[in-house]
Amino acid sequence: MNLKYRILVIVALVAASIWALFPRTVVERVKRNGEFVYDTVRRVPLKRGLDLQGGMHLALEVDESKGPVPDKSKAIDNALKVVRNRIDEFGVSEPLVQKAGNDRIIVELPGIDDPRRAQDVVQKSAFLEFQITDETQALEKSLPRLDALLKDKKLVAAASTPGAKKDTTSSSAGLQSLFTADTSKKTDSAKTDSAAAVGTVGGPGAFSKLVQQGQMPGEYFVAQPDVGTVTQYLTLPEVTAALPPGKVLRWSSDTVSLSGRTYRALYVLDAKPIITGEFLTDAKPNTSPTEGNLVQFTMNNEGARRFRTETGRHIKDYMAIVLDQRVMGQPPVIQSAIGANGQITMGGKDLQAAQDLALVLRAGSLPVPLKVVEVRQIGASLGQDSIHKGITAGVIAIGLVIVIMLGYYRFSGALAVAALALYILYTLAALAGFQAVLTLPGLAGFVLSIGIAVDANVLIFERIREELAHGKTVRTAIDEGFRHAMSAIVDSNVSTALTAAVLYQYGTGPVRGFAVTLLAGIAASMITSIFVVRTFYMLWLNRSREAQTTLSI
């Protein structure tokens, strides 16, 4: 190739590389004073992996512990949309949500500072149901059977807790109310008094002794230490079968404190919800002076119509708002038919919780429960530290390689060093151009490749030396040196590239970044050590015709 064109190609590549690496203005979502805003940032367009910039990587799969899912792939597809919506609203710059394989969702959230919250937002089913509390005392009717069952199974001794044993002395039949019989409500003092008055409560049965009647129909209280035991009972197949038909039992999301003891409410609800969250069109967090933090929601026309009809039929009943099988707040009494708008009170939770709940309600509920199968979370400071150390190692490696090449090959070594500078530029540009992700192993691979990149030049230089030793002229020796070294360079680089391709195919995350860096490095080193150094030699030969007799190599 003509020397002019060679120089043109090199200059064009340099220009393209600088263009690819030039810091550019990008629009990013950044967190400012707790709010996510769009902002423009100027930076070098090299994508850093999660391990370098900090962030979170999540892998989720369908959770089948609560029942099999027939078409997992389809379920994952649907869940993917929901997760993507949620993440988009969550406000992370450049998040990644994708399906991996047939049954897995990968979520990558760069720069996330609250991993637990992020995981919660992704994983929350956000299945909203409105269910009327039971008014038929269905649980009381089933209690004798439940007690008998548990007695037969002799599970009581095994599962009972110290908290439960305390109450065994009491032997009045059936359930006792934690409150005075006439439904004296609301005021805390009344609660305390009545609870104190009842003292030891509970029936003789294993089950009934743990459960106390609450304030409203279908409400029961279980002392917090016993919650585990009761939950365990409720999962026994025999117990499930003996529970009142057409009803479901749901725990409250918060606890209440009565006369020094903590209780959790257990609600008996009509199994069929009057309406679910599928009709929801909007949800907003809000704070009310009386009810604390809450989420206000709006339903679409069809939902509003249904909601109005159903609530109209249940005036004076209590309606539980059930989110992911937990009753949110105390079920309110239905005063009149409710239309399109409603609200969910958050109990004692903070505004952030209300914001997150509003977010997941807006984004829709997950069609299937998801479980987390992989979490990787790296702090931003650790990533910064890795970059810093990686760059230090790289600079030192470059320095050592320069010393070796200059010390051994002198002038030719200088040409190789110049080519090495271009190699670094080209490799980084290739990574930026292909939008490859630079990971920590990738950075290590890059540093290593600086040492390997000069191999082609070493091969060529050694060949040239051999040719010179055979008494050839400088010009011929250079030509022959390049030609003879070629087969070795090509074969060794192609086989390395093939290995890198395999790594890319079978690697994940950081390792994939490593393979990409390796591939970019091989391509760049072939160009620089063969093409660029050759051009340098040609330039040198052209410029000083009389100097052709000796070559510093």
Binding site: E374, I378, E462, A488, D491, L498, T499, V502, G507, P510
Partner: protein
């Protein structure tokens, strides 16, 4: 012109029996210790939880352990990581893994909670968490093995096309040798086998293969020149002729590897160790595995004209091969 090891004429292959003895002893030592105690897989492969913690004050490791034991996080391995204020906690035993599948971050959450309670909310920071379910770990392990085997297969095919099957087989056997020595090295150094280390292993394989190819390329060329010498002599000559290149390239790669080892931080160190060892084993296997194996294959399945004869009657395969110049243009 400053030259080292120029125009040498060492009889490298003469020592192959001694070298074979040394490397076999090393591999057996490694595999033997593997038989006694299984390798140290990272949580990426076994499933489990790894947390990297940064304390404001150097903590007492015994105290961390006691706190974790009290919280029923048993069998957690606590290791200093770099400075004496940084530690990794690794919950990797089967019961932890089983509990993990219920929700991969549960153990991490527990560890963070109890340690913050013990040492104070602001006195430690979780800088890295990795929690991997057992199934993911299994898939990764399978992926790593497939990657290694597939890279062998592809290499075999490529070299069979570019050289011929005898060279390809010898090169792949030399590379397999490096897999075993590197595994033995990992075991003897108590290095953890992580994804990054597997990437390092594959890099070593690529590098070692490079080295073998450079020598074989010279062998191919020398055979074509048709000197009156045996393959034994040709191999020795080729190794000697490529010796300056080997020394130079190993020096630059070693320079890069050492800077990684000393300056790139704790996370990359295992990778750098593997690579440092890889330079040694790669060089070794190119000379003492690839060459003797090629000799042995030649003796067993000689090319149509006897290998001991002058290769001026170049082999049929070599005649049909393109010349290096035309092949690469």
């Amino acid at each position: 012109m400053f030259r080292i090891l120029h125009d040498t004429n060492y009889d490298f292959i003469r020592w192959w029996k001694v070298m074979a003895g040394i490397t076999i002893a090393f591999i057996l030592l490694g595999l033997g210790s593997l038989a006694i105690k299984p390798p140290n897989y990272s949580i990426e492969f076994t499933g489990g939880t790894l947390m990297q913690l940064e304390f404001t004050q150097p903590p007492d490791v015994g105290e961390i352990r006691a706190t974790l034991d009290a919280a029923a996080v048993h069998g957690a391995e606590i290791q200093q990581f770099g400075t004496n204020r940084e530690f990794t906690v690794r919950a990797q035993d089967p019961s932890a893994v089983a509990a993990q599948s219920k929700g991969a971050e549960s153990i991490a959450t527990t560890i963070e909670r109890v340690l913050k309670k013990k040492f104070g909310e602001n006195n430690l920071k979780v800088v890295r968490t990795e929690a991997v379910g057992p199934r993911v770990g299994q898939e990764l392990r399978r992926g790593a093995i497939i990657a290694i085997l597939l890279s062998f297969l592809i290499t075999l095919v490529y070299l069979s096309i570019r050289f011929e099957w005898r060279f390809a087989t010898a090169a792949v056997i030399a590379t397999s040798h490096d897999v075993f020595t590197t595994i033995a090295f990992l075991k003897l150094m108590h290095l953890e086998i992580s994804l990054t280390v597997v990437a390092g292993l594959l890099t070593v394989l690529g590098y070692s293969l490079n080295d073998t190819i450079i020598i074989f390329d010279r062998v191919r060329e020398n055979l074509r020149k048709g000197r009156k010498e045996t393959l034994y002599e040709t191999l020795n000559r080729s190794i000697n002729e490529t010796l300056p290149r080997s020394v130079l390239t190993h020096a630059t790669v070693l320079a890069a590897t050492l800077s990684l080892l000393f300056f790139a931080g704790e996370v990359i160190r295992p990778f750098a160790w593997v690579m440092a060892f890889g330079i040694i084993t790669g060089t070794f296997s190119s000379i003492y595995v690839a060459a003797p194996v090629l000799l042995w294959i030649e003796r067993k399945w000689p090319r149509k004209t006897s290998a001991r004869q002058s290769s001026s009657t170049a082999t049929p395969t070599s005649r049909t091969r393109p010349s290096p110049a035309t092949a690469t243009r």
